[in-house]
């Protein structure tokens, strides 16, 4: 567990613990924290693979800019999990290639 509890400037108010799944495996995180933070705390280091060469990509810019953390969240591809808040029951999946657009 790498979750900070104390910080000289930032506060970490106690949040509600929620359950979500990562590639089918159940994980717990704190409601409202970035999905990437919950994944990182759970030891997930590879968030996606580059579409052309298939190289591992991890938590990088952490501010929604770099495309390193694009994942499929509740069926929606290319979600930037570093800025997307975690909610109860979310289904998080690593993407195949560029991700699949849902078409019903």
């Amino acid at each position: 567990m790498v979750r900070l509890k104390e910080h000289p400037i930032l506060d970490f108010p106690p949040g509600r613990e929620v359950a979500f799944t990562f590639n089918g495996k159940e994980i717990r995180g704190v409601e409202g924290e970035p999905i990437a933070a919950a994944l990182h705390a759970a030891g997930v280091r590879v968030l996606r693979h580059s579409p052309v060469l298939g190289r591992a990509r991890g938590f990088f810019c952490a501010i929604g800019t770099c495309s390193s953390c694009l994942m499929t969240v509740d069926g929606v591809p290319n979600v930037r999990v570093c800025t997307e808040p975690l909610t109860q029951g979310m289904v998080i999946e690593t993407q195949k290639g560029h991700g699949h657009l849902p078409i019903d």
Partner: protein, 384 residues
Amino acid sequence: MSRNSADVVVIGGGVVGCAVAFELAQRGCTNVVLLERNTLASGSSGRCGAGVRQQFGTELNCVLAREAVRIFEKMDERLDYQPSVEFRQSGYLMLAYSDHQWEQFQRNVALERSLDIDVKTLTPRQTLDIVPFLNIDGMVGATFCQEDGHANPFHTTFAYARAARRLGVEILTHTEVCGIEVENDQIKSVVTDRGVIATSTVVNCAGAYSGKVAAMAGIDLPVWGERHQILITEPVEPIMGPMVISFHHDFYCQQVPHGSFIMGIGMPGEPKGYSIHSSVDFLEGMAVTLRQLLPPVAQLRVVRQWAGLYDRSPDAQPILGECPPVERFFNANGFSGHGFMLSPIVGVIMAELVTTGRSSIDISKLDAGRFARGELVLEPTVVG
């Protein structure tokens, strides 16, 4: 500048200029200088939707497009280009939303088939076999040609430029044409901001700026700029093959090989001019139309929006050929949105005209003199 004289000066480093330069060199005319004010494909070529279709309403447009497609099909080998110009024959699906339009489409199909262009007519329901998530409300019918498609406009331009250079053509970027010296209706030289090139022959491939270039030679050429906007989405795995196009909605949309969707709509009342700014109106109009016609695609995020210029002519048809009274001043412009798709065959035709005075396809109807004669070429099947 290494040359101060050339047999032919090509003005404009877009796909048309580069194709003309290559085809000239291919015919042994290698003492050619191509002048480009900015970088290759920095104007309309690099900004276009890059669709390639053969479905038109006039015989000449069908023939030109068909021959262009035949060249695109073998372009990588012909120009010895790696990696690829990315020509994909994923088809054009053209949607009709009124009986009047449907009748026109059926006339087009009869014409296209008579010219060996393989086009199918489809009921609205049958279009769902090609694009399952298309909203068919209000659609009367559609036509589909599998051999139509899309290529990468940057790679296509660079492929022609590289091949032309290998054959000895000198391509000068960041070199602006400032004047054309004409005496007794004969071209003497082209003046640039980096020196003067003596020449007898100019090919004007300056896109929307072709009217301004012609004016330097004292020619009144009715070609002007008209802004057209376009956007691209984030990429997703392939779900849509063809270019989907609706004249009723003034709309086109295609998923490119990379996975992004490229799309545009015409904006009514676009003034003549050279602005390439993006507008919020376009983004809003695009979103509304996209939601209506291809609802799932509207979920995607927009990555980039930009604009380029149509090189408009009065009848929205190309201007090809020599331009009297000035001798050996050739135009290849006025494409009005179809320059990229026609560029391979335009390169061939212009090179034939410059080197032999004749072309293998009769393009005399597309001369600049038609406007003064009142003989406009009316193509019923265009966007914008």
